[in-house]
């Protein structure tokens, strides 16, 4: 019947038909079988030969379907190893279907709905939305409690998305990084293993493939585009997002400086409410930090509202920065 069915089959109909066909097969279908029989491909398939564009379409469709979490599998025919045309494709039911014992109570659904709403921008918000649709599909018709207010977080650093993709693919990336305290950015080549937000700052935890050393980089200091390389890197088992956060917490707890803040100032409000801040001797305030240079920049921005007591290195960094700013703004602009 549908040979006469022109014009084009909508994209979602082709993708849906492909998933159905691959779920229904136990032994898998070859590319030729798929292109010549599955709705959306067969209308464009030529038995005479040239199906290059259609094959490219199929490759893209496979990627798109896998992006949705559909486990599209390739089976190699041992009798015809290396023969691309003999590969068979299928979607194993067990890996496709949500395990039977996973269900969510209405309280859990409400909490997950709130968790999805946390992301207000970027692909995390798109993926959360899709996850919510799947979640709704698990529920009966009873309503999910209305949410009175939702906390939101922004992940606007330009480096966030490419680094997340690199994480998923397990590949090495290259980017220019302006290390706090340095004057100019330097090229970094690293294998990212986690993206973490610590004290409000997004960081990528990564291993330098050449030295094997683990380092964290502030996303806001990645100054150019992040380039994904073809080089893959396995994440060492002991390096996770939690281990990266634990290490940052350890540094935060260990590193402390003492400052004096002007009463009633913005600096007083903000530094006093900073995590772990406690009063120190002689009307001082002890504050925690991870990176001395980042802290120096933060303190310098408070200008006259803050005076550094210790360590000396911090006092010198802040003073040097303020002298430089004062000098740059003497008289008329240099430009």
């Amino acid at each position: 019947m549908p040979a006469a069915r022109t014009p084009r089959v909508p994209v979602e109909e082709r993708l849906f038909s492909l998933v159905l066909a691959l779920l229904a097969t136990d032994h898998g279908l070859t590319k030729g079988e798929i292109l010549s029989t599955v709705q959306g491909y067969r209308q464009r398939w030529s038995s005479a030969g040239d199906n290059v564009a259609l094959e490219r379409q199929f490759e893209r469709d496979k990627d798109d379907i896998r992006e949705l979490g559909v486990p599209l599998e390739t089976i190699d025919d041992p009798a015809a190893a290396g023969n691309n045309q003999a590969l068979r494709y299928r979607i194993p039911r067990g890996a496709y279907e949500l395990p039977d014992d996973i269900s969510f109570s209405s309280e859990e659904t409400a909490l997950l709905t709130l968790a999805a709403m946390v992301w207000r921008e970027g692909t995390l918000s798109g993926e959360s939305r899709r996850a919510l649709v799947k979640l709704r599909g698990l529920g009966g018709t009873d309503s999910v409690p209305e949410l009175a207010y939702a906390p939101r977080v922004r992940s606007r650093d330009a480096a966030f998305e490419p680094l997340r993709t690199a994480l998923d693919r397990g590949v090495v990336v290259e980017f220019d990084y302006l290390k706090p305290g340095d004057d100019s950015p330097r090229r970094r080549v690293v294998a990212p293993y986690a993206l973490v937000q610590h004290q409000g700052r997004w960081m990528v935890a990564a291993v330098e493939p050449d030295t094997g050393r683990s380092k964290t980089f502030l996303l806001s200091r990645v100054t150019g585009p992040v380039r994904l390389t073809a080089r893959t890197a396995e994440r060492p088992d002991d390096l996770t997002a939690s281990s990266a956060l634990a290490e940052l917490d350890r540094l935060w707890a260990e590193r402390r400086a003492v400052v004096r803040v002007a009463p009633g100032s913005d600096a007083e409000t903000r530094l006093t409410k900073r995590r772990g801040s406690v009063p120190a001797d002689d009307a001082g305030l002890e504050v925690h930090y991870v990176d001395l240079h980042v802290l120096a920049e933060e303190l310098a921005s408070f200008g006259p509202e803050v005076a550094v007591r210790r360590p000396d290195e911090l006092r010198e960094l802040v003073a040097r920065r303020l002298r430089r700013v004062a000098t740059a703004h003497e008289g008329s602009p240099r430009g």
Binding site: E12, Q39, A53, A115, R164, E297, G303, L322, A326
Partner: protein
């Protein structure tokens, strides 16, 4: 005729179809209206999806998509009563797994929520994270948000929302003056380390954004709220421009320019020596002084002169105290 890459909507619609089929199977017979309400999508979209499902299936042994190889629905019920009932099923019985990225997005969202006082039930959150990991098609990617400080203000905001009452607090405004404000809380947002409360401000009679760390002496009131999230349109930007805003021209190393993204710079213009000039809109000159004093990339305010002076005085003041 190479196809264009399918728009994100096509994969979103596929995910919806794969979710809708098992849900419809579970429902047995359900109205289009109830389905639309459950998934929060327009009724037309449900009708389109059902029509597509009804003509879809597998090639089958004949490779001709014969009748028995296709889904089928009770057409009369659908066309006359707007009710859906699948009468023949193909290939799909059960709900799909979450993708690794979907699970990771929810897990990171949960971690963020668990830092808030009202969601601090760590055991419940851990159980949910375990379920999501098991329900994902691959290990969720490593994205995590560290615990923050549990904030007394956040707790009060939550209680105000729950009780539907106004919140009042002392707020140090832009020009340093402290005022007692009364607010209908609408939303809590964080940008990096900074937390904001957005709400209807009864003093200004408008939506306002408050920094949580500038809020002091917060208290619940007896007065019920006038405005709720459902009837106030919150703009995407935290702060709206005002006629009093000052345009400031800043020059700095090109490599450091992205750090100003939060200030929505305009007219970036390259300057010799790998530097750029751009213009920022600020509410007052003090903001520029704070910004420039803490910014890498050797920033210099070029104009107006009053802004240059403000930056210089700010830095000199800081040096005197040291």
């Amino acid at each position: 005729m190479a196809d264009r890459r399918p728009a994100a909507q096509a994969t979103d619609r596929l995910a919806f179809l794969l979710t809708l089929v098992p849900w419809l199977i579970d429902q047995g017979r359900v109205s289009v209206a109830a389905t639309a309400a459950h998934f929060g999508v327009p009724v037309d979209e449900i009708r389109r999806a059902v029509q597509l499902i009804a003509v879809s299936g597998v090639p089958g042994e004949t490779r001709q998509y014969q009748h028995g190889d296709l889904f089928d629905i009770a057409w009369d019920d659908f066309e006359q009563h707007d009710v859906v009932q699948l009468t023949n099923l193909v290939a799909i019985d059960d709900a799909p797994r979450f993708s690794a990225r979907e699970a990771a997005a929810l897990i990171a969202g949960l971690q963020y929520l668990s830092a808030l006082p009202e969601h601090a039930d760590r055991a419940a959150v851990a159980t949910l994270m375990g379920k999501l990991s098991r329900g994902a098609s691959a290990a969720p990617s490593q994205v995590a948000i560290g615990a923050g400080e549990q904030d007394e203000v956040l707790d009060l905001v939550h209680r105000a929302v729950e009780g539907g009452v106004q919140l009042e607090f002392d707020y140090s405004g832009l020009r340093g003056q402290v005022e007692r404000r009364r607010v209908d809380p609408l939303r809590v947002e964080s940008v990096d380390a900074d937390w904001y409360l957005r709400g209807w401000d009864h003093l200004r009679e408008a939506v306002r954004t408050f920094r949580l760390d500038r809020i002091a002496r917060p208290a619940l009131t007896d007065a019920p709220v006038d405005h709720r999230t459902s009837d106030v349109a919150l703009p995407d930007e935290l702060f709206q421009g005002t006629p009093d805003d000052v345009l400031v021209t800043v020059e700095l190393d090109a490599a450091a320019a992205p750090l100003l993204a939060d200030y929505e710079p305009t007219d970036a213009e390259p300057v010799p020596g790998d530097r750029v000039r751009l213009r920022l809109r600020v509410t007052r000159l003090g903001t520029v002084a704070r910004l420039v004093a803490g910014l890498p990339g050797d920033p210099e305010v070029v104009a107006p002169a009053a802004a240059r002076a403000a930056v210089r005085d700010w830095a000199l003041g800081g040096l005197q105290g040291a």
